[in-house]
């Protein structure tokens, strides 16, 4: 489903070039739960931007569901984000002056879905993300961190995307709430969603089936040993 072939990314500023990604190659199958891990400056955020169609690589090829995303223009990238990718961020990235329901339905609005259907699908996504119905009409800035992240997860789910990208989703949460959020990702993964989790914390990455470790713009390891352990855990 996701295929990256020899991806590089170089930033140039005042004739000064900095290669952040140096030939990244890997693929992620449908239904996988993958953590991309690495220390600060390893290139994981840049990689997330490319996987999330927020940026394009300097060279290499990125195929999402068989479509080459690496050479698309701005508006085509926006269409990919709208239809195929759901984002969850550390800072939640919710509209503070909008209600929970409106935040969750935002991607549907840009997809041109009528209001009634929008609200219906947003409510279902919010319930699936574990948010109580009594919170739906609250402003997003009236919620706790954990609740805000659930709204963000609902927003990521609402379009039924092929891929959910989570960038340090527990970074602003206490460990208990963080575990609840990670549990939600595991539940979504069991339901068939493909999840890519970006983190620098080993214990967060441990929730995934597979951990890709980045260092200095290259893949240092691609550990699939968690798959077996997770399957046993899930079966249990």
């Amino acid at each position: 489903m996701i295929e990256l072939k020899n991806i590089t990314k170089t930033y140039t500023n005042n004739n000064l070039s900095l290669q952040v990604l140096k030939g990244i190659t890997f693929s992620i199958e449908d239904g996988e739960f993958v953590a991309i891990m690495g220390p600060s400056g390893s290139g994981k955020s840049t990689l997330m931007h490319i996987i999330g169609a927020l940026d394009t690589p300097t060279s290499g090829q990125y195929l999402l569901d068989g479509h080459d995303v690496s050479t698309l223009a701005e508006d085509e990238l926006a269409r990919i984000r709208k239809t195929k990718i759901g984002f969850v961020f550390q800072a939640f990235n919710l509209l503070p002056r909008a209600t929970v329901l409106r935040n969750a339905s935002l991607p549907l609005m840009y997809a041109g879905v009528p209001k009634e259907e929008r609200d219906d699908r947003a409510k279902k996504a919010l319930l699936a993300a574990g948010l109580l119905e009594s919170h739906f009409m609250h402003l997003s800035n009236q919620l706790s961190g954990g609740q805000m992240q659930r709204v963000a997860i609902a927003r990521a789910l609402v379009n039924n995307p092929s891929l959910i990208l989570a960038d340090e989703p527990t970074g602003n949460l206490d460990s208990k709430t963080g575990n609840v959020v990670l549990g939600t990702f595991q539940k979504l993964n069991r339901e068939g969603h493909t999840i890519v989790l970006i983190t620098h914390e080993r214990d967060v990455a441990e929730h995934a089936q597979r951990i890709i470790f980045l260092r200095d713009g290259v893949i240092e390891s691609d550990d699939r040993s968690h798959v077996q352990r997770k399957q046993s855990y899930d079966n249990a």
Binding site: L54, D55, E74, D75, L77, A78, R79, R81, K82, T83, F87, F89, N93, L94, L95, L106, P107, M109, Y110, A111, G112, V113, P114, K115, R155, N159
Partner: protein
């Protein structure tokens, strides 16, 4: 996509764009007010300069109309020759009209002019014959055309029949007014450019401030799939609303000014050559329509430049 679904989608998208624009204006009401005020001030300045320019042009035309070349012919000059001269002069380029007064008409006019002066009338009676010759008055398009016409007349064989020529020399006044007009024109262009630049800079910064205050929201909207067009569109709608409001205010102010000032301009331009109402509100209102379109385009182009930075992913 079926046409019905496409239409529904189009309406939803435009409904959201207009709602966003309204929301932005409401949230940044003071900024919107400043932008509209600046647009109004700029438009008033440009229109004031246009009015000054039109008034000075009308003044030059009025002065030019008062300049003429009078040719007094010998009393003995044959009428047929003079009518031929009139026909010749009418065909000269830049001559707008030629008035011919024959000796009898000239005498009648003279008598009428001096009806209260017994001495002059008695003198005419003593002479027993008409001492006045024919009079030909030549009007040209502008004061600058007269020297060439005078040279042309002097070069003609019938020049000897001319007893006296008088050139109502208002050219000095005309050239002064013309100089004033030319300076006013240059000044108006410079000031119009200056005001337009100020308006552009203010609109640019207004949009930038508006978009800066919404940068986080814009980033979020882009993340969830909003295209750059969808982000830009509310700002263009806002620009359109600002321009429409500003133009409506300016039209109202111009109408009120014309109503107050035109009665005072009437006596100055007795031939009806200039009025603010005619300048601004003569159908098909091309000046106001052109101003609105230009300001709208400038606002949109400026907004597009102001947004560029914040629309990069």
């Amino acid at each position: 996509m079926s046409s019905k679904k496409y239409r529904a989608n189009f309406l939803i998208v435009w409904g959201r764009i207009i709602a966003h624009a309204g929301q932005n204006m409401w949230r940044n009401a003071s900024l919107a007010l400043v932008t509209i005020t600046i647009l109004v001030l700029s438009l008033i300045s440009v229109n004031a300069l246009l009015a000054v320019r039109a008034a000075t042009t009308a003044a030059v035309t009025a002065v030019n109309k008062q300049v003429d070349l009078s040719l007094f012919f010998e009393p003995a000059a044959p009428e047929k020759t003079i009518t031929d001269i009139v026909a010749y002069l009418q065909a000269v380029p830049n001559v707008t009209s030629v008035e011919y007064t024959n000796p009898d008409q000239a005498l009648a006019a003279f008598r009428a002019r001096h009806a209260n002066n017994d001495e002059i009338l008695k003198s005419l009676d003593v002479l027993g014959e008409n001492p006045l010759g024919a009079l030909v008055v030549v009007h040209a398009g502008s004061a600058g055309d007269y020297p060439a016409i005078i040279s042309l007349v002097q070069a003609q064989p019938w020049n000897t029949l001319i007893q006296q020529r008088s050139f109502e020399d208002k050219t000095q006044i005309a050239s002064r007014v013309e100089l004033l007009t030319s300076r006013a024109r240059t000044g108006s262009i410079v000031l119009a450019i200056l005001f337009s630049l100020i308006a552009i800079m203010i609109i640019f910064n207004t949009v930038r401030v508006a978009i800066y205050t919404q940068r986080d929201e814009i980033a979020i909207k882009k993340l969830v799939g909003a295209t750059n067009g969808f982000i830009r569109a509310p700002f263009f709608v806002e620009g359109f609303v600002y321009v429409v409001i500003a133009c409506a205010v300016v039209i109202g102010l111009l109408a009120a000014t014309a109503r107050v000032v035109d009665p005072f301009l009437g006596p100055l331009f007795s031939d009806g050559g200039f009025s603010l109402h005619t300048l601004f509100f003569a159908a098909p209102y091309e000046l106001l329509v052109a101003e609105t379109i230009i300001v709208l385009l400038l606002t949109w182009i400026t907004s597009a430049f102001a947004m560029r930075r914040y629309l990069r992913t």
